[in-house]
Amino acid sequence: MSKLTPTPGQTVGPFYGYALPFTKDNELLAPGSPGSIRLQGTVYDGAGETIPDAILEIWQPDAHGNVVQRTGSLVRDGYTFTGWGRASVGNSGVFTFTTVNPGTTPAIPGKPAAAPFISVAVFARGLMNRLFTRIYLPENEEALAADPLLSSLEPERRKTLIARRDADGGLTWDLRLQGKDETVFLDFEHVEGTSK
């Protein structure tokens, strides 16, 4: 098959706030339901200032490590875990999701197992194209040490992808678009000259 050149991305701009958010967008589970946790964090720019106009999406397996392929993310029934959610940061740069700890997804034969993680897509005014990153759970040092992505990173950079466990069982993970402790962002394409 012929390989087509991908359409370029563009910034989400400042005016997505009346279009992309929807009711319960950040509630993959109803808050307070059994097994639910809060995932929260703050988005910072290169000057260390919080960013009020960013929007994040998470996509993750369920607590048992299953990839869920169920519809109903946009009109949630309150019971179905779809694995995907969207959260706008507030005026203070903070985002919040209600979700579950992602389970360990079975290893593909012949490939090293990845430690459990949540996939993240980041959009913001002033960010020319979306960015991808991951949120790993802080537990199970052995799995983290064996993880193909984490083990390819310097320790200082690696820690930007690992959430902190909160006293209430939730997760805190901050996102830094630039500067000291800049979050590791991922390039899944092999083609040079893209997403520079």
Partner: protein, 291 residues
């Protein structure tokens, strides 16, 4: 949700009080930069890119994350290289959307209120394909845009152009089996912004797209052919390659134009290629189907 795009907890974004007359034209900062300043910067970047191409560099296909003429990007772009990673597990799949999520009428932005919106009625139609040319079927497409006067229903939009009580500017649809999407809407107006003095965005519609893998997720903007603002706009120019820029410009399609009703524009969207192999389908796809 269908007829009231502002339902739920984002009600505060609706019904922006009209800005003070000429608020958008209030004197800007004394150290204001002009279009000439910005155009000179963009020209220098374009010339450097042309030299690189001549020296054998690969053509760029995406916007530069580091593109200083868009001033808000200066502190918001990663300074370290993106880390190359092989997509794993969840990244090789996308969330599933369906007709539970989106009503068919959400693809018509001209019928969301009691009256007809002001402006030039248009049809925007095309296909979502992956990098191998395969249609992306049954996936979510979201759009948002300014009204015909160049005003968004958003509290941060202070442009003193009229709101249209019959136009919200938000649409959604699910792609067909052949990857096709189709929206009926109003041609958006150009609007001023405060990147520099006399900065105007070319008319555009924001698009949000999912593929079969989460790694294919993109948000972008569709433009209209022949816009005189293209060379002046730092957001469009953040894509330095002309062929790549052209991929964001719709084609006027008279075959698609509906007699005595609406002008037709065609725009196909190509996502990156799927990285999923049959082993991952075996390992996760089947399990997922049993959910």
């Amino acid at each position: 949700m269908l007829l009231d795009a502002n339902a739920g907890h984002h009600q505060d974004d609706e019904l922006v009080p009209a800005a003070e007359p000429h608020a958008g034209h209030a004197p800007l900062d004394t150290a204001v930069e002009t279009q000439a300043d910005l155009s000179a910067e963009m020209k220098a970047i374009g010339e450097a890119y042309a030299r690189a191409l001549k020296d054998g560099a690969e053509p760029e296909t995406q916007p530069r994350l580091d593109f200083a003429p868009y001033r808000s990007s200066i502190l918001r772009h990663p300074t370290k290289s993106l880390h190359h990673a092989d997509p794993e597990t969840i990244e090789l799949f996308s969330p599933a959307f369906g007709h539970q999520d989106v009503h068919a009428l959400e693809a018509d932005l001209t019928i969301q209120h009691n009256g007809e919106p002001q402006g030039e009625r248009i049809i925007v139609q095309g296909k979502v394909l992956d990098g191998d040319g395969r249609p992306v079927a049954g996936q979510l497409v979201e759009i948002w845009q300014a009204n015909a006067a160049g005003r968004y229903i958003h509290k941060r939009d202070q442009h003193p152009a009229p709101l249209d009580p019959n136009f919200t500017g938000v649409g959604r649809c699910i792609t067909g089996p052949d990857g096709s999407y189709r929206f009926s809407t109003i041609k958006p107006g150009a609007y001023p912004w405060k990147n520099h003095l006399n900065a105007w965005r070319p008319a555009h519609i924001h698009f949000s797209l999912f593929g079969t893998d989460f790694t294919q997720r993109i948000v972008t903007q569709m433009y209209f052919p022949g816009d005189q603002l293209f060379p002046l706009d730092p957001i469009y120019q953040s894509i330095v390659d002309q062929d790549a820029r052209d991929r964001l410009v719709a084609t006027y399609d008279h075959e698609l134009t509906s007699p005595e009703w609406a002008l037709g524009y065609n725009w196909d969207i190509v996502l990156t290629g799927s990285k999923r192999t049959w082993t991952e389908n075996e390992a996760y796809g089947d399990a997922a189907d049993e959910e």
